[in-house]
């Protein structure tokens, strides 16, 4: 990542696909680990930790959507609905049966995966725009069901309060301890996705995306892999929903509306489709942007708007800027921030001897 790479020559495919592209990459990873595990939690103020926590959760969700949209080429506008499935599954299990997080978390993920497979079924017959519309219907139907069925939503407000997760009697109930809880799952998701992408399954996903007929001819069962992509993607979404639930201490369907699906689409488009690093960039960018807009508007916007209007203006501006950025990146840089990062890197690769 932050190193030069002269003198290493890859002579096998295995070496090319290795998790650490160069020996020195282990040191980079070690340095990052030191930064995130030791230095940041010790030095950074709690407010910034809470932002990082939101970023960690968003990374899990963005990775999931990127597996489906970026790697497999199946569009989904129902990502937030799968999150809500995970969130409510975990919340119900945690409150009604009193189960700990290490059971509710995978359970939420698996439930979301099951629902995801059902919503993904139309992808077997139809693709592209029809699939987009089918997942949109999935989002609306799931939203409606959760909101209307008290057995799932826990009554009038459609929200369930959950205790913070605890392990061996230790409760993760401060931003600082939640930081480690969420960091663990974000890193787990990143490693899992990196490994998935270079495995047989990941390569099959890419083949289905690039040319599905050719993929079928070389022996990839595209039905299976499309449903698998939906299942894996929804599993991530479900886990992401569970993490939101534990982080906020409440499962509320308003956190998982259609607009959130668009937020996640914005993340992977801005960050870079079909790339793990892109998902991370996108999650960071989309999480930070509203904060930047809010700070900016609190300084500048008060000249134009009254305080009462401000909340509406900020949320409107946030959505508007996301929309504009989606269009901008699609037209100008379809590979997103990840591409810009690669451009910077390849510039410095031979720096200062560029010629």
């Amino acid at each position: 990542m932050f190193h030069r790479e002269s003198g290493f020559f890859k002579t096998t495919y295995a070496a090319d696909a290795a998790l650490y592209p160069l020996p020195i990459a282990k040191w980079t990873v070690a340095a990052l680990a030191l930064l995130f595990v030791v230095i940041i939690p010790l030095t950074v103020h709690e407010y910034y930790l809470s932002i990082l926590n939101l970023i960690f959760i968003a990374i899990v969700g963005a990775l999931g959507l990127n597996i489906l949209v970026g790697y497999t080429g199946q569009i989904s506008i129902g990502h937030a609905a799968f999150m809500s499935v995970g969130a409510y599954t975990a919340a119900n299990l945690a409150v009604k049966l009193g189960l700990p997080f290490w059971i509710t978390l995978p359970a939420g993920g698996l439930m979301a995966a099951a629902i995801g497979v059902i919503v993904g079924m139309p992808s077997l017959r139809i693709k592209g725009l029809y699939l987009a519309i089918a997942t949109l219907a999935g989002q609306l139907i799931i939203e409606w069901t959760i909101n209307r069925v008290p057995a799932i939503s826990g009554g009038a407000q459609a929200s369930i309060e959950v205790d913070r997760p605890s392990l061996f009697g230790f409760s993760f109930n401060t931003q600082g301890s939640l930081y480690f809880f969420l960091l663990f799952f974000a890193v787990l998701a990143i490693i899992a996705t990196l490994n998935l992408a270079r495995s047989r399954i990941g390569r099959a996903f890419v083949a289905v995306r690039d040319q599905d007929i050719a993929a079928e001819i070389i022996g990839i069962n595209i039905y299976r892999y499309k449903l698998l992509a939906f299942a894996i993607s929804s599993f991530y979404a479900g886990v992401c929903g569970v993490l939101y639930t534990y982080y906020f201490g409440i499962a509320n369907y308003e956190q998982f509306q259609l607009i959130v699906s668009i937020d996640y689409l914005a993340m992977i488009i801005i960050g870079g489709l079909g790339s793990v690093l892109g998902s991370i960039f996108g999650a960071v960018f989309v999480t930070l942007l509203p904060i930047v807009i809010r700070i900016f508007m609190e300084d500048v916007g008060s000249l134009f708007f009254t305080t009462a209007e401000m909340a509406n203006v900020i949320s409107g501006l946030r959505l508007g800027v996301f929309g504009g950025l989606i269009i901008f990146f699609l037209i100008v840089e379809p590979e997103g921030l990840n591409r810009l990062w690669r451009n910077i890197r390849s510039y410095f690769r031979v720096w200062p001897f560029s010629y």
């Binding site: 506008i77 693709k127 668009i262 508007g320 929309g323 989606i326």
Partner: protein
């Protein structure tokens, strides 16, 4: 007529008039898809934008309705042309998913910036047609629904004339059928793409007037756009007649579901039934009732 039948008749008539208003919006979607193969996820936001403009113009003291309609049609035509030039044309030849995501981005942008620019309060669009319900047998309809249905029917007549008889309409059908051949015959394909978006703008402008006066104009007006998808999937994405029939069916289904199922589930089936129907159609007959069977099986 027995009471049950009268109830059903009232529901069907009410659903049909709402359904025609859905088809009016769906028409804009179909026009764009037919000519340019682009899916417009921002159709509801078009309607919202048009409604906002009408409401703002009417907000001025003594502004006549006709002026507001002329202004909104002009603005929406300009918006359609500009949109095609700035957003859609650079995406020509890119995967269909890119266009879908661009229109989703556009939808988010309009929905976000609309209230910032025009203010987020709900505005009324009052039409000079009174509030007296129009009584048809056992059913009584609000006049705005009748007006919306009439406008929708007029638009369908106008567009069927346009596509069958006028030179531009024929050229547009040629573009829709085969872009390369149309280009070889001397048709300026890009201009007709722009024209299709402008026509979608006109339809949305009128849609904004009738829907805006029925629901009031604020950001929630854009949610009408979500009903477009069941309509066009049912009718067939590239069929103008399909938009009409699809709208009628969805409107009636929605009204019947609300009338008969709401008492059992506590309301809200109206927003649910159309999507269930749509999923069924997608499973059984994804090209819809009148759509071309060019769907690619995978």
């Amino acid at each position: 007529m027995s009471e049950d039948l009268e109830f059903a008749f009232a529901l069907i008539l009410n659903g049909a008039s709402i359904g025609l208003m859905y088809s009016l919006i769906a028409l804009g979607f179909v026009l764009v898809y037919k000519a340019t193969d682009a899916i417009n996820f921002a159709q509801g936001e078009f309607v919202m934008l048009a409604g906002l403009i009408v409401a703002v113009v009417l907000g001025f003291e003594g502004a006549p309705l006709i002026a507001a309609i002329v202004i909104v049609v002009a603005v929406m035509i300009g918006f359609g042309f500009g949109l095609e030039r700035v957003v859609l044309r650079p995406l020509l030849g890119r995967p269909v998913v890119a266009v879908i995501m661009a229109t989703i981005g556009l939808a988010a942008m309009l929905r976000g910036l609309g209230p910032v620019i025009f203010g987020s309060e709900t505005r009324a669009v009052s039409l000079p047609i009174g509030d007296e319900p129009i009584v048809l047998g056992p059913a009584s309809l609000p006049p705005v629904q009748v007006l919306g249905a009439v406008v929708a029917i007029l638009f369908f007549l106008a567009f069927s004339w346009f596509f069958k008889k006028s030179r531009m309409g024929v050229a547009m059908r040629a573009v829709a059928d085969n872009q390369q051949v149309a280009q070889a015959m001397g048709i300026n394909v890009e201009r007709y793409f722009a024209l299709a978006w402008a026509m979608a703008g006109v339809v949305s402008a009128l849609g904004g007037v009738v829907w805006g006066s029925m629901l009031g104009v604020d950001v929630h007006l854009a949610l009408v756009g979500l009903k477009v998808f069941p309509v066009v999937i049912l009718g067939g994405l590239d069929s103008i007649g399909g938009a009409l029939v699809g709208g009628l069916i969805i409107g009636i289904v929605e009204s019947l579901a609300a009338g008969y199922l709401d008492p059992y589930v506590g309301g809200g089936t109206k927003d649910f039934a159309p999507y269930v129907l749509m999923i069924l159609v997608l499973m059984i007959r994804p090209y819809g009732i009148f759509g071309k069977r060019k769907i690619e099986r995978v």
